[in-house]
């Protein structure tokens, strides 16, 4: 590859290759090499950063402001940390309407206070017209650990849960771009996952926010990490009615659509029911569901499998080529 392609930033396998082959060897250190959503630093401190380039900047269910706070907060939560402080760096294209910028800042403020985090440092750059698309935002977040992911403890029988219907963010962005001239009631699921924090002490062994690459990519990456295959049941994966209709028309596989406010959890078998009930009572998790389990009968090590509603078995591969660029 002589030039950087869009697929290198897609969250799929090409991006993993890039991180492993080009980034890690250059910057290798004990914090980075774990390649978690956040770096786990001394004294129980977690640090994460993310850049937001979503197009369009306003979409049904959110905007780049809600996204840049929730995304970073959620990365900390699934790493086991309570988010505390955020940085905010704005890269703005010359000519952006001031009213638009103010609207985004108001979104950031509202989302930050909802997540009980403070924006404590920042940076502003303006680039000439055409050198950026309206606005890009980078946030970094720090927080203290309240729990620890323990993928090594995952064993057959442990349950896989999702916190709600999947794929709505990816689809909302896709439709907002209007290439298909199709409208739908689907809204982005962009939202905070703070309600997951207490579960670290109630049997959660592993969490990951389901972002680019969708549920299939998260499951496939989890299968790579542990010693047992995973089996998800298609029938049990929550999908909203509006999304079901739209993906049929567009021929899109919802398992590869991104979310921005949903997570996948692996929970000890004995605690799964209880955790599900806790989730269903929290504001972000009413439609949570147990979608599958860690296996010792079906499949091989490293495989994430789906039992389809037709009763067949299908392999879940990580997203390979770009489904859609600039969704977050």
């Amino acid at each position: 590859m002589k030039q950087v392609s869009l697929e290198m930033g897609s969250g799929g396998r090409l991006m993993q290759d890039f991180i492993r082959d080009k980034l890690l060897p250059v910057f290798k250190n004990r914090y980075l090499q774990i390649l978690h959503d956040s770096a786990l630093l001394p004294n129980g401190l977690a640090l994460t950063t993310d850049s937001y380039t979503v197009d369009p900047i306003f979409f049904p269910g959110g905007d780049i402001g809600t996204l840049c706070v929730n995304g970073t907060v959620n990365d900390l939560v699934v790493s086991g940390a309570r988010p505390e402080y955020l940085s905010l760096a704005l890269i703005i294209e010359e000519g952006l309407e001031m009213a638009t910028l103010e609207k985004i800042l108001a979104s950031i403020k509202r989302t930050a206070s909802r997540n009980r985090v403070s924006i404590v440092t920042g940076d502003t750059k303006v680039v000439p017209r055409g050198q950026a698309d309206k606005i890009y935002i980078n946030t970094a977040g720090v927080g203290h650990l309240v729990g620890h992911p323990r993928p090594e403890k995952i064993k057959p029988g442990d349950k896989i849960l999702v916190t709600g219907p999947i794929g709505e963010h990816g689809l909302a962005i896709l439709l907002a771009r209007n290439n298909f001239r199709m409208s739908s009631r689907v809204r982005s699921d962009c939202g905070p996952l703070l309600f997951l924090l207490p579960l670290w002490k109630q049997g959660a062994l592993w969490m990951r926010d389901i972002t680019r690459g969708g549920l299939a990519t998260v499951l496939s990456e989890l299968a790579d990490k542990i010693n047992h295959p995973l089996l998800a049941e298609e029938e049990n994966i929550p999908l909203s009615r509006a999304l079901k209709g739209a993906v049929e028309i567009l021929g899109i596989d919802p398992l590869y659509l991104a979310c921005e406010g949903r997570a996948l959890l692996v929970v000890k078998e004995s605690e799964a029911r209880r955790v599900l009930n806790v989730l269903k009572k929290s504001s972000g998790g009413q439609q949570a569901a147990i979608i599958g389990e860690v296996q010792d009968k079906v499949g091989r090590k490293g495989e994430a499998l789906l039992r389809t509603s037709s009763g067949g078995l299908r392999l879940l591969e990580p997203l390979t080529s770009e489904l859609l660029p600039r969704i977050c």
Partner: protein, 379 residues
Amino acid sequence: MAPRKSSRELFSNWRSGSTIRNLLQAISRETSTLNRTLRIMEVCGTHTMTLHRSGLKPLLREAKVVMVSGPGCPVCITPDCFHEAIIDLVTSRKNILVATFGDMTRVPTARGSLQTTVPLPGSEIRIVYSPEEALELARKNPEKEVIFFGAGFETTIPAIAFTVKRAAAENLKNFSLLAALWLIPPALEAILQSGEVAIDGFIYPGHVSVIIGTRAYRFVAEKFKTPGAIAGFEPADVLLGILSVARQVREGRPEVANQYRRVVQAEGNPRALALMDEMLEPYEADWRGLGRIKNSGLRLKPRWQELDAVRKFNLRIQPGKPLKLGCRCGEVLKGLVEPVDCPLFGRSCDPDHPRGPCMVSYEGACLIAYKYSSGARNK
């Protein structure tokens, strides 16, 4: 009009575990009477997708049916020379805007792919979702020559023909079509005549059949005594098609069964067929894997030659020798080998680094096998 159904009702019954189990049992009964394994070719890439995505292939093997993928992916069967002609054009001329479907941009050729090509300043390659979008690009960019590089079977051909007609009606001088348009029935005839592939019957493509109807396949049953069924794209649709073929084999009564009656009619879509006839003429075309087949490609009639990119830019569409050593896409397209039989599959050829077109397209047999089959790969 049938009463309106919710999307859930429309699909769930065609996917439900109990329906699928019943159909598999019925198929199993037919094959056990025959006491042998049936080999059935699903012509269309979308059927290949349905089989893998729903995990039906292993279940069908248990019911003694082996499904063989056919040449039904337009991206896969379009020979490299089309892409190479476009690459030559955008790297030698300014202000050329090529609009094409996403899959087409990733097909690897000896000159790279449309995606890796660096066009001259002012020229570019743009992904579109419909031919209509290409027309819009021509209206919005009058200073550029917009070429729609359209690949497709009978399903998409009418829409492409309609776009050209619109361009002519609007007198859009900067729009032209590079037609990679292919017809299914001549390809089936070529497969049957070659006698290389031993198959017991065909699952005919559902949406191609919406346009061409059931009659277009009659020669398969009459001349070649080979069973076949038109099927839709839900798991139960495909199984209904397979069941019909199995029955035809057992009864020794080949026909063209229509198992997709909710959209396919015997005479097809007469308006679409008339439009195709008005705009396009058949020629002897080269298919990747199948080679040269009489009357199997469509190009614009001389009356519309100002809109034909081949004539307008004097493009050279001459298939050369395939350069990719070891790539067996040609045989995969004929149903002679399975993707896993190719020495490159999963080793040096994967969706991130495709060596052949069947690993590029979402309807390509290799990509589908790679993505959906447990244990199919050599990791």
